[in-house]
Symmetry: C2
């Protein structure tokens, strides 16, 4: 209900002009109630990304792929497929997406790298290394960095965008090839 109110307002008046007070008023709740559910305005915008990314550890845990790098690729592609394609609350005007470009990159990067330790731990478990050592950290950093970048491009591509999984797949392919050849 808060998410729907926010999505309506983002569409009507743009993301930057919409305040938490506007969202709360539209949903008929208090500002305090808003903050019971979300820590910040941007959290409402990324509900579906957060949900898709949250499944990553489970995808990894159930992987039967022998290459750890390929297993991470599979898990990221599964997460991209799981993102509801009809819930793109950023049906925001293209111009405004450009406006919030820097915030967008930082915001997506933060959400995707929330899974950094999960990916590093998974890779370390396969190689018998400490999760904090260079190889697991490199795999996590480069692959999540590529996936986050692909997500950002998908968002900014507007209403004519192709499925998210195509963007994530195209971004991961060269990175995975390099990591897997090591």
């Amino acid at each position: 209900m808060l998410a729907d109110a926010a999505a309506e307002l983002f569409l009507e008046q743009g993301y930057t002009k919409t305040t938490v007070d506007h969202i709360a008023a539209r949903a008929g709740v208090s500002r305090a109630t808003f903050f019971n559910y979300f820590a910040a305005k941007s959290d409402v915008m990324w509900l579906d990304l957060d949900a898709a990314v949250a499944d990553l550890p489970q995808h990894l845990a159930t992987s039967t792929e022998s290459s750890a790098v390929r297993a991470v690729e599979d898990a990221l592609l599964a997460a991209a497929r799981a993102h509801d394609p009809d819930r793109v609350p950023w049906a925001i005007a293209q111009a405004e997406v450009m406006d919030v470009g820097a915030e967008l990159v930082a915001s997506v990067a933060t959400r995707v790298t929330a899974q950094h330790q999960a990916v590093a731990s998974f890779v370390a478990g396969r190689t018998g290394e400490h999760p904090g050592s260079l190889w697991p950290q490199t795999v996590a950093g480069s692959m999540l960095g590529a996936a986050a970048a692909a997500f950002g491009v998908w968002v900014t591509d507007g209403v004519g965008r192709r499925p998210l999984v195509e963007y994530v797949g195209a971004a991961l392919t060269p990175v995975v090839a390099g990591l897997d050849a090591r």
Copy 2:
């Protein structure tokens, strides 16, 4: 002076237990003065990283390397070499570094990805694409993700750490190989 006071306190009582008020008091200034120079406590910790990373656009602009991916690699290695090796304010106890692990990753990632648009614009300039298109964004996301991860490993390796450029180089090598073969 604020940086020195902060470094002393981080060493004496750890990063998490040190407050902005402690740092200001040790430096003999007010809390307001602290915030004239730094937006947050963590900014004091990353002074040298911020300085090293700030030179990235200039390294890119003066590159004579024909491969855009290799040019970005060179620029990141130059930034790693530029980071003062004797200014590791995180001569924090190893245990505490583990403690602030998640914050560390997020904090380093934010600082390194501050250069995301600069790297993407440079790559796009070489290929004639829009900086927001998938290839420039992928190069920036994966290479900065790998470099940020390497920086985090370097920090957590403690007093026996090897030069930063070795970590960044080892992390970038497989990623660059994959991207450059595309």
